[in-house]
Symmetry: C2
Subunit: 268 residues, 2 copies
């Protein structure tokens, strides 16, 4: 669902690098564990999963053949042999019930019109007692100094565009109720906040500039084209977002990571 | 600057209890250290400081005699003998230069029209190499599920009221540039995020309900009286904030804690 342009691909690689520790450090799968990565896109998370759990057996699926091919190339280039790739639809996974020990889903539910239905579909292929890990952002968690109405407006365009295409870029804050509604057990959500100021130049550059602001910048044509903002307002918003990366600026954003299990009784 | 009503006093006590670990766990002063607590209010933080650093010598000052008397009573009742109280103005502290080893300021700069001037005044009484700790909230860091325009409007009333009285309740995000501008060195800011969902009932009750929403609720008369919102809109905002404390709700808020030192060259 990501990764269709070169620029987007570079952005996703930067994002993965800066956020690897924050989002992945506490995800390690045991040797031999069967893990489904649902919605692998171009493999930005796949290489991290494969690296961190070298003896687990991953199956990474995506509905877009182009992304999947790119993910395969990326994972092979990184030298990992513990990932199989398969084209598949989240809602129609070609696996028997309870096939996997663990399921991992990152930056996918934000795009999905009915995230509870998606979670139920994923739960079907998870064995009783297995674990589900979900990671999502929340664009409403972004705030910064200097504050700017233009910058807030530009971010809101992203939220509006996502909503128009059936997604929800404010989904991070509601992972808990979504997982509970999907019937998962032992749901634990932990926020992972990114904070950037001049004392953390790698975060300022890797996250504020090259991840978040670049992502917003990438939808400029759509936002202006669909009349969500005029060109001047858009330019001011992007300028003010980059402004927060200067020496007296700060930037805050929060990802949410949820861990849950399937009831031993199952719900197949 | 806090603590003028009974209800407010109860609120501040609840807040201190829930937030003690999050905000204070990494602040410990050595035996014999001379520590200034600037703006102690009714002593909600003072009892925690005195408890966590039992052999440090605290001097807690506030400009309001009533708050100071209450703080003294509270600290005595808790059995701490390592705190002296003194009525004093932040900008005109009755201490010689470099008198203290450490300065601690919590929920004070948000009320101050010129926080850089306040920091410079505090720095004067801090010895070269001494440490300054600052803790502030940021009301713009609040977001929640279910989202609600009424609830966001109610919070904005708090921000507007604070601004009208010369303060800034969005100050947390700019602690870093403020401390740098005040001439402090080695400035490190760490965000402390509060996240509440039904799996954390003590946080839902202690923070969402009894700290944050109670605080917003407390300014209703002012907000409506000053025409920032009509009575129906206000009531809807408060209702929607309490709504986030129900079983499928979530609530997020972030405090910022800054640690810095005074240059060995001093700036007296």
């Amino acid at each position: 669902m990501h990764g269709y342009s070169d620029r987007e691909r570079v952005r996703l690689t930067d994002q993965a690098t800066v956020l690897t520790e924050l989002l992945h450090a506490d995800t390690r799968y045991a040797p031999g564990a069967r893990v489904l990565e649902a919605g692998c896109g171009t493999g930005a998370q796949t290489v991290i999963l494969a690296h961190n759990s070298p003896r687990a057996a991953f199956t990474s699926v995506d509905v877009a053949p182009g992304s999947l091919a790119e993910a395969r190339t990326r994972v092979r280039a990184a030298g990992h042999a513990n990932v199989s790739f398969l084209r598949a639809d989240l809602y129609d996974l070609p696996f028997p019930p309870a096939h996997f020990d663990h399921v991992f889903v990152c930056f996918v539910l934000e795009h999905v019109p009915d995230p509870v239905a998606a979670l139920v579909a994923l739960t079907r292929v998870l064995r009783p007692g297995g674990s589900l890990t979900v990671i999502e952002g929340d664009h409403g968690s972004a705030y910064f100094h200097p504050d700017s109405a233009h910058a807030r407006r530009a971010i809101q365009c992203l939220v509006d565009l996502q909503r128009r295409s059936g997604g929800d870029s404010l989904i991070g804050r509601r992972l808990y109720p979504l997982l509970v509604r999907a019937g998962l057990r032992d749901v634990t959500v932990s926020p992972r906040m990114v904070y950037a100021d001049a004392s953390r130049p790698a975060v300022v550059d890797g996250f504020t500039r090259r991840t978040f602001t670049a992502m917003v910048e990438g939808v400029g044509e759509q936002a202006v084209g669909q009349g969500l903002v005029d060109a001047a307002g858009w330019a001011a918003g992007i300028r003010d977002l980059y402004r927060t990366a200067e020496d007296d600026g700060t930037f805050c954003y929060t990802f949410f990571k949820a861990l849950a299990s399937v009831s031993p009784a199952g719900r197949c």
